[in-house]
């Protein structure tokens, strides 16, 4: 009798342990690493993306499964800080399809021989969707934030992620930089603004755009710099925030690429092409991302108002110029400002 109850207890404990480990999911630094979509009989696409487009992929993956091409294709998505994710893939994480926040994170894989040099030579330069940099404030905008200058008021604390791990952070800093330096004409004016912002108004260093949003929603700071799509996502979730798009801001362009050593090259390419179809573009727009297809863009024009002036990375000379000048570790001017403020 005693013996039986003991074995029963053991069984229960084992069951509990198994249940606990099953619940614990994947690695602690990635969200949702369980396979989704179909049964995978047509192959599995390992998708490595930055943290923020998850709501978009949650719509696009099942839609792709509903097409002829995407029947029975399973997905293994992994979301995290853009730079972090890119380094993981470079260091050997098995990926078929990548979507990063900024082009240099793809360039890193091109340099490592994992992505074809011609990845961005298509109609849309490898960018299926984008957004603009926006200012997220508490509901009712209690501090009356309207434009970039308002962030430098002494009573304002700004939340923005760490540019060394997050792509979102680079966009967030480029927006006021471009606005203040008149598209890079007067870099010192731009850097002066960034210095003041980073030294006196940025207190925490979240690693990704999504983590920055979480910290903001938990009550840290007065202002969150973010993608417009992230702002729309929070608002649609009913969080007590609203967003103010300043008159002069920056166009965000988020690249996708397929790895040349992918085991499911044709499926990964089919999925990439699907993102550009009118159907795919509509889904991106519904998820809060600005579509690149002109016809779809016109359809959603009132959801995505045009700012008075929208600088682009091309205006500043492209990523190949901007990244080493501003963000290269130890030498880029914004990197140095960040280092001095956070070391």
């Amino acid at each position: 009798m005693k013996r039986r109850s003991r074995s029963l207890l053991t069984a229960l404990v084992t069951l509990g342990a198994v249940a606990l480990t099953a619940c614990s999911g994947g690695a602690s630094d990635t969200v949702g690493s369980d396979a989704v979509g179909a049964d995978g009989s047509a192959g599995t696409i390992n998708l490595f993306a930055y943290a923020v487009p998850k709501p978009g992929y949650d719509k696009l993956m099942p839609a792709f499964n509903a097409t002829e091409e995407g029947k029975n294709v399973a997905f293994q998505p992994s979301y995290g800080a853009s730079g972090d994710q890119s380094r993981k893939v470079k260091d050997g994480a098995e990926a078929d399809f990548v979507n990063f926040s900024v082009e240099p994170d793809v360039t890193r894989l091109v340099d490592a021989g994992l992505v074809d040099k011609t990845w961005n030579q298509d109609a849309y330069n490898g960018i299926p969707f984008g957004s603009v940099v926006t200012i997220v404030v508490r509901e009712g905008n209690p501090k009356n934030i309207r434009d970039w200058d308002d962030l430098l008021r002494p009573d304002v604390e700004v939340v923005t992620p760490n540019p060394f791990s997050s792509g979102s952070a680079k966009w967030n800093l480029l927006a006021p930089y471009a606005a203040k330096s008149n598209g890079g004409q007067d870099p010192n004016a731009g850097l002066a603004y960034i210095t003041s912002l980073v030294n006196d108004h940025v207190r925490i260093q979240p690693k990704s755009g999504r983590e920055a949003s979480e910290a903001f929603l938990q009550g840290t700071g007065d202002v969150l710099l973010s993608y417009e799509n992230e702002a729309l996502f929070m608002e649609s979730n009913g969080d007590p925030v609203e967003h103010v798009t300043p008159p002069t801001t920056f166009k965000i362009e988020n690249p996708v690429a397929v790895l040349s050593n992918s085991k499911h090259l044709d499926k990964a390419n089919a999925f990439k092409d699907f993102l550009y179809t009118p159907e795919g573009q509509k889904l991106w727009a519904e998820a809060g991302f600005r579509p690149v297809d002109p016809a779809v863009a016109t359809e959603f024009a009132d959801k995505f108002p045009q700012p008075a002036k929208l600088w682009t990375i091309a205006d500043l000379g492209g990523w190949s110029k901007v990244d080493p000048e501003l963000f290269a570790k130890d030498t880029g001017s914004i990197a140095v400002i960040y280092d001095n403020a956070t070391r």
């Binding site: 602690s28 730079g83 972090d84 207190r203 260093q205 910290a215 938990q218 009550g219 840290t220 956070t342």
Partner: protein, 294 residues
């Protein structure tokens, strides 16, 4: 494991033990409980593979940017601040554990109350839970949506609560067995000689418990300075305020500075090791004094 020759007296019919037999018996008498060179070898090998080698690799990695890089990484203001916050909070947690842990052990050993066995089992729960679960629980309770209107997230008290939660068992579990073994007669003798309860506790019980309390506190402190999961959500990770060294290390890895991460890790390990070593010395000295007193 004995390699003594087994001899059997064959066919003689006598019960006189043969000389080898006597030798065997002698050997058996000489058993000391030591496992010999093989045991020492296995233990050393295991410790090397599990502890020493990884630590050596970490130390090598920490000098990836040269000695100057190591010093820079460890002495950068934010790194120093994170070490300072970590040690300060961990000391507070260790002190809380000394007081509360001893009290809980006392109650569990000396008092009878319904549900005692359940409480006893509850003590170990913080060991069994993934620490991130502790963080989620505490965030739900003390976070921005606190149902009891106590807001501790992104504050140092929040860190202390989280660390006190995960280090709860150490002092309790190290004091409990000692308290069970304590000879009650000494206390009774002291009482009959007119000592009041406070004096008995201070002069009779506490000296006996001290080594156990110190070693438990040391373990709690060492665990607290290395803790990551339990503070990751409630701590806020604010540099210079609530950023623990483990979070600083994680951040250095995220921003692609592995050598700096390793350097701060080595500093943290050195602190933990020195703490444990000093406490060992204190505890063994206390033990010796105890034995001399007897």
């Amino acid at each position: 494991m004995s390699d003594a020759p087994t001899t059997t007296a064959v066919g003689t019919g006598t019960t006189v033990p043969s000389p080898p037999d006597r030798r065997t018996r002698k050997k058996l008498v000489q058993v000391t409980g030591a496992v010999g060179p093989l045991g020492i070898g296995v233990a050393t090998l295991w410790l090397s593979i599990i502890v020493v080698l990884p630590l050596a690799a970490l130390t090598v990695a920490s000098f990836g940017d040269g000695i100057g890089g190591f010093v820079d990484a460890v002495t950068s203001p934010v790194a120093l601040a994170s070490l300072r916050v970590t040690i300060m909070v961990s000391v507070v947690v260790a002190v809380i554990n000394v007081v509360m842990g001893t009290l809980i052990a006392w109650v569990l050993v000396r008092d009878e109350f319904p549900g005692k066995r359940i409480v006893n089992a509850l003590i170990d729960l913080p060991f069994a839970l993934p620490t991130i679960v502790a963080s989620i629980v505490l965030l739900a309770l003390y976070g921005p949506e606190s149902p009891i209107h106590i807001y501790l997230n992104a504050t140092q008290p929040g860190l202390i609560v989280a660390l006190a939660f995960v280090t709860l068992p150490f002092v309790v579990r190290s004091v409990q067995p000692v308290l069970i073994e304590v000879d009650r007669e000494v206390e009774e003798a002291a009482a009959s000689l007119g000592a009041d309860n406070v004096t008995i506790f201070r002069r009779v019980v506490l000296p006996t418990l001290m080594p156990a309390i110190i070693s438990g506190a040391g373990l709690a402190f060492a665990r607290a300075i290395g803790e990551y999961g339990s503070v990751v959500l409630i701590g806020g990770n604010i540099p210079r305020e609530t950023q623990m060294a483990s979070q600083y290390i994680q951040q250095q890895i995220e921003i692609d500075r592995p050598a700096a991460a390793a350097a701060v890790s080595v500093a943290l390990l050195a602190i933990a090791f020195v703490t444990l070593f000093v406490l060992r010395l204190l505890a063994s000295r206390g033990q010796r004094r105890e034995e001399q007193a007897e």
